[in-house]
């Protein structure tokens, strides 16, 4: 508590240097939040930017989403760290929007609030049996192997599982398939959570299905991730060559998309490659196209436990926008499995008191300006409230997408300032006010310096195991490391 108090005094003395700066609060410290902070600091000289996060750790999905065997993708945290160390920027971890502080309170304290808290929930299929044991969302599985403190006790049963079905063929689907199939000695030197590594070591999974509604010409993954999984040691790849037949509409689609073309080519090469070395302990990966889940099958031995997926075959038809969509053919087949991971998309959680577009999973906005309920053609902007990242455009894209997304939102803020739609002349108490409010509510803030304590403890633990870091994967451990 003493440390916290002195930090607060420091902040207070600091903020008196400049008179009435523009005070900006960003909710969420993932790529969207940090890129927004970086752009605001650059565009608005003198602006004070606070990034709040519900976790004690910053960087959002760079920490809990990016696969442990993709360390290069995480290098961007160096850039985000430089942003956090900017004298006009602060990270305030352990601050939950909703329970610690409400949105109206934040809007009262700051001139500008940018919501960038991403998508912490999942789309659902809405088919029978979806609640059976053994069925999880890919997000849960990812958060578990990445040491997210909310999923420390997730414990998926990999020892009684021979076959896993992954619904979806995007990069998240490929990530989880790769983690399930990759030799664990290769994962052991990554920053994968130790509890996940132990479970994977005793995994009995030998067969994984990646199931997609459409065909190889429409697969939603990228070439890098596909190349990677196709190259796993001792892994047999199964792709039905008949699935690779292209319709004229497929040809057209491929002609227009470089990435789809390259993905298709990789798949067809993999399909025609003859497997020369069939080892006894091999693992299998099946790319299953043109199938959609109809319902989940229940195990006879284990009540309410999944034992398979009832799939409907599909075919593609062009919709009015020229896009090819999958429709059922009323032909069915079953795939037996003991575990299902649904990788059909993330979903944002609505912010209390704000409109939410459930169809697209976003807060309605115009170039990042939050708009209240639209009536007819007119949309009313919510003064000083903005949105960035997945909450703004839906849960798609890569880390770099947020760069452009943030640029757009921040230029909207700058335009509104210029037009006088925001009132930076009004005195707002910003960080001091927020810290006071949190103090009154006994919410203990994690500063960036305290996160750095977590960081160095994780690196120290990692070095003992020949890993870049060993994540502290429970709330207790995290709190002990920073406040200890």
């Amino acid at each position: 508590m003493a440390i916290y108090g002195s930090v607060r005094r420091f902040w207070r003395s600091f903020s008196t240097f400049s008179s009435d700066p523009l005070r900006v609060c960003i909710v969420g410290s993932g790529p969207a939040g940090f890129y927004t902070a970086e752009k605001v600091l650059k565009a608005q000289e003198g602006a004070q930017v606070d990034i709040v996060d519900r976790l004690p750790t910053p960087f959002g999905l760079v920490r809990s989403g990016v696969a442990p065997d993709h360390p290069e993708t995480k290098i961007v945290v160096n850039q985000f760290t430089r942003v956090a160390q900017n004298g006009r920027c602060s990270f305030l971890g352990n601050v939950n929007l909703g329970s610690a502080v409400s949105l109206p309170e934040l809007r009262e304290l700051y001139h500008v609030v940018v919501l960038a808290y991403g998508a912490e929930s999942d789309r659902t299929l809405g088919i029978p049996g979806e609640d059976f044991y053994g069925i999880h969302s890919a997000r849960e599985f990812v958060w578990w192997y990445n040491g997210h403190p909310d999923y420390r006790n997730f414990n998926p049963d990999l020892t009684n599982t021979h076959t896993a079905v992954i619904l979806g063929q995007g990069n998240v689907a490929l990530d989880v398939a790769r983690i399930l199939l990759r030799p664990t000695n290769e994962l052991a030197t990554t920053d994968i959570a130790e509890h996940a590594l132990a479970a994977l070591r005793s995994s009995s999974i030998r067969k994984v299905y990646l199931i997609g509604r459409r065909g190889p010409a429409q697969a939603a993954c990228t070439a890098k991730e596909l190349r990677e999984i196709l190259g796993i040691k001792d892994l047999q790849i199964h792709i039905q060559e008949s699935d690779l037949l292209k319709s004229p509409a497929d040809e057209e689609e491929l002609k227009n998309s470089r990435i789809q073309r390259r993905v298709y080519d990789l798949l067809s090469k993999a399909a025609s490659a003859k497997d020369l070395h069939s080892k006894l302990d091999h693992r299998e990966l099946h790319f299953t196209f043109f199938r959609k889940p109809d319902r989940f099958l229940e195990s006879d031995d284990r009540s309410e436990h999944v034992s398979g997926v009832h799939l409907e075959k599909t075919r593609l038809i062009g919709d009015e926008s020229g896009r090819q969509v999958a429709v059922g053919t009323e032909e069915f087949e079953d795939v037996k499995c003991e575990m299902v991971l649904k990788s059909i998309g993330y979903k944002s959680i609505p912010a209390k008191g704000l409109p939410f577009d459930h169809q697209r999973g976003i807060i309605p906005n115009i170039r990042g300006r939050v708009v209240s309920e639209t009536s007819g053609d007119s949309a009313l902007p919510e003064q000083g409230l903005y949105v960035c990242g997945w909450l703004k455009r839906g849960p798609t894209g890569i880390i770099g997408t947020n760069l452009y997304c943030a640029e757009e939102t921040v230029s909207s803020i700058s335009e509104d300032l210029q037009k006088g739609l925001l009132q930076p002349t009004t005195r707002k108490s910003g960080r001091d006010g927020l810290l006071q409010l949190l103090d009154d509510r006994n919410v203990r803030v994690v500063s960036f310096r305290e996160w750095e304590k977590i960081d160095s403890e994780e690196r120290r633990l990692g070095s003992l195991r020949n890993k870049p870091r060993e994540k502290l994967a429970s709330w207790d451990e995290l709190q002990r490391a920073c406040w200890g």
Binding site: N171, V172, C221, T396, L403, E407, E408
Partner: protein, 155 residues
């Protein structure tokens, strides 16, 4: 390796600054030979002319010269934020073909063109003297054209 080259050149440059007063013209020539002229055209169309030591990547060169070129993965081929467009096909053809890994990242670049490359993979060499590189104006593409849609299916 590239870094060493780079530091060596900086050292040399500092050295030269302190000795040019003694009319060491031959030294200056040698120095010129080891650098090429590169023009960056930024998002707003503004040009910046810089000298880049042989062996240095355009990403490093941009950062050394305060040119706004993102480099999220710091040149480790894990992102496409240092996307540049070679403005002249003739120069583009002087470059080695992109590797599969670079192409994988270019797949995801905003506003990809026929002569797009990653700045971290374009390494200064004498044949590239005079090369012009445009930094794509991605913001405009972002909301307007097909790039946004193409991105939508990917995660």
């Amino acid at each position: 390796m590239e870094n060493n080259l780079f530091h060596a050149s900086i050292m040399q440059k500092n050295c030269l600054y302190s000795t040019t007063s003694s009319n060491d013209a031959s030294g200056e020539e040698a120095e010129q030979k080891q650098k090429i002229s590169v023009t960056f055209v930024d998002k707003d169309g503004e040009e910046k002319h810089i000298k880049v030591p042989i062996g240095m990547s355009m990403l490093e060169a941009a950062h050394e010269n305060d040119i706004e070129l993102e480099g999220a993965c710091e040149g480790s081929l894990a992102c496409s934020t240092c996307h540049v467009i070679v403005m002249n096909m003739e120069y583009y053809n002087k470059l080695e073909d992109p590797s599969d890994e670079e192409n994988d990242m270019l797949d995801l670049a905003f506003g990809l063109t026929e002569t797009s490359r990653l700045g971290c993979q374009v390494i200064a060499k004498p044949e590239l003297e005079g090369i012009r590189l445009a930094i794509p104006a991605a913001t405009r593409n972002f909301a307007v054209d097909g790039c946004y849609r193409q991105e939508e299916a990917r995660i």
